[in-house]
Amino acid sequence: MASDVRAGADGERGAGGAGPDNARRWEHFQHGADIGVRGFAGTEGGAFEQAAIALTAVLTDPARARAEQAVEIDCEAPDHELLLVDWLNALVYEMATRHMVFARFAVDIRNGALHGTAWGEPLDVARHEPAVEVKGATYTALQVGRRADGLWLAQCVVDV
């Protein structure tokens, strides 16, 4: 569902991870009390990875997180947009129950099914200085699709 995204990028942004496609990047956008996460990449999976880095950036500076342990994540959804929400909510759940922060992500999407890996480390309050926890990914400003320039965009607002 294409939502009206009026507010532009607001604040944090970055280029996440090395890769052949140097258009990969993430950013936050404004939503009243909360924050929107947005990823761009040459593939849908890449855009999901970038959106996940933007999710980490809500909590802490992604550069402070180390990729020490891997967590595997699988989700399936009736459409691409719900799949993005499921992916981000799976990460929210893993962060909350494992008390981890994630630094790096790999996502493979085939036939509406997602297999992802998130690499991270236990949350260290002194080093990560976490600002705010994410309660959940929402359907607000939710959008997954290929833009005219060929780049994939994956975004939604997260409730903090």
């Binding site: 604040g11 200085e129 976490p130 600002a131 705010v132 309660k135």
Partner: protein
């Protein structure tokens, strides 16, 4: 926002007439200044809510309304189950039963002033707050289910507080109709280490002084006097509520079409009250309410322990506990006829007028206490439900100030350390694990709560009783 399309029904009441798919009008309670400052999205969302099946009266927005998810934050809507009415996971939100409780201390501002630093440190060390904090209470699966049914009553039975606390909590501390079976294992796991934790974001525990009394008679009935020291706690159902919200939002968004519900926005995800999904959600959501009530009850106990070490004379008695993210079954008179309605309040506080049987007997004549949270450095308010609140908004009022700027805009404008120093200069102590969190929650990032409560009063939603000013704040 351009307000030329709004019909001004009264000085503080604005109507968007029902057109197109709207089943009822949308009504906004606010001053002209507040309504002009509202995001156009608030009106769009209030209009969208007005299209949902079985809605009764109007889709309401409170004076602190701002752009939310599906429903505006500060949105109120009531649905009739016998008219195809719906229950909406989006209309309750992720933080089920987030709310405020305020405690008397039996002390004055002067009693606290001399030991304020020790008290702030004691509270900060004793009450888990912030991202990744874990509680002192760890629940077995059996304990978890008992907590989800028992709420604050369960917590009191475990030794966290007294029976008197329950008398001063909505639903007497225990929401009926909770069904732990409808709460997923994931939601329970997410809660395992989080009982008795404040959380983060705009959640806090604050020591406050009563700075001004507006209605002496009602303040007397509430036990509030100028110069009193009180404690307010703002938090909700933690990870359990967030996970219930996440799961049912998805399920309802997918199933809506099956029930013939056209959703103008997926975030309005809902299901007929009289449907298996609707009933499952109500069972889970009520368990979430109990989780929030138990959580605030445990934090109350921890607060008493922290006070006892620094100020043994303190007697922390509960003034009241109100939730502002709920769906509750209530009887309201509509066009002269009493009807049983499912009232959603998303960022809105129940505000029963004087005499309502659900108000504790000692407070009944005065109206229900409506506790309005501030932010660090800004005032909080105690209001009382008004005689007129039922006719206006199914007995609902505002819940807080609402943000005026985004978190990032706030971090660009302020540094956490300088916010803490500046507030310390004004005599307000802040304790937080996250300086970035403090910057994001800087007082200047919020709207003027005074203007919001004035509009609530003049709009006939609630009456101003007292203004509370912060002395020390533990930020989540």
């Amino acid at each position: 926002m351009d307000i030329t399309g709004l019909h001004r029904r009264a000085e503080y009441e604005w109507e968007i007439p029902a057109t197109g798919a709207m089943r009822v009008p949308a009504v906004i309670y606010a001053s002209e200044r507040l309504v002009q400052a509202m995001d156009a999205k608030v009106f769009e969302q209030a209009v969208n809510v007005a299209t949902l099946p079985g809605i009764v009266g109007a889709s309401y927005a409170m004076p602190d309304a701002h752009w939310g998810y599906g429903f505006p934050i500060g949105g109120v809507a009531a649905f009739d189950p016998d008219a195809g009415g719906v229950v909406s996971a989006g209309g309750v939100g992720f933080d089920i039963s987030c709310g405020v409780r305020t405690l008397h201390t039996g002390l004055t501002r002067q009693d606290v002033e001399g030991v304020k630093h020790a008290l702030a440190d004691g509270l900060f060390h004793h009450i888990p707050a912030g991202v990744g904090s874990t509680g002192h209470v760890h629940l077995t699966p059996k304990d978890m289910d008992e907590m989800l049914v028992g709420g604050a009553r369960w917590a009191v039975e475990q030794g966290f507080g007294t029976l008197d606390d329950l008398a001063r909590t909505e639903e007497l501390g225990q929401m009926a109709g909770a069904d732990p079976e409808q709460v997923s294992d994931k939601a329970k796991k997410r809660q395992q280490d989080e009982m008795g934790t404040l959380g983060s974001g705009n959640h806090y525990l604050e020591v406050q002084q009563v700075a001004e009394i507006f209605l002496p008679e009602v303040a007397d009935a509430f036990g509030l006097h100028q110069g009193d020291a009180v404690v307010s706690i703002h938090c909700g159902s933690r990870g359990l509520g967030h996970q219930i919200g996440t799961e049912f939002l998805r399920e309802m968004a997918i199933s809506a079409a099956r029930y013939g519900i056209a959703l103008p926005d997926r975030e309005l995800a809902c299901a007929p009250i009289n449907s298996p999904i609707g009933q499952a959600y109500l069972g889970a959501m009520r368990a979430g309410i109990n989780c929030a009530l138990a959580n605030r009850q445990i934090i109350t106990h921890l607060t008493r322990e922290a006070f006892a070490r620094v100020l043994p004379r303190a007697r922390l008695e509960l003034l009241y506990d109100v939730s502002h993210n709920t769906c509750k079954v209530e009887e309201h008179v509509v066009e002269g006829r009493p009807r049983r309605l499912f009232v959603h309040r998303k960022g809105a506080t129940r505000a029963f007028g004087p005499g309502h049987p659900d108000i504790p007997p000692a407070l009944r004549g005065a109206g229900q206490p409506v506790l309005i949270g501030g932010s660090m450095g800004t005032a909080s308010y105690v209001l009382a439900g008004a005689d007129t609140s039922e006719a206006h908004s199914f007995s609902s009022a505002c819940h807080g100030a609402g943000r005026a700027m985004s978190r990032h805009a706030a971090t660009r404008q302020w540094r956490g350390r300088s916010v803490v120093d500046e507030l310390a200069h004004r005599g307000i102590l802040i304790r937080s694990r996250s300086m970035r969190g403090v910057a994001e929650e800087a007082p200047g990032a919020y709207k003027d709560v005074g203007e919001v409560v004035d509009a609530a009063e003049r709009g006939g939603l609630a009456r101003k009783v007292a203004r509370l000013e912060p002395m020390a704040c533990v930020k989540g």
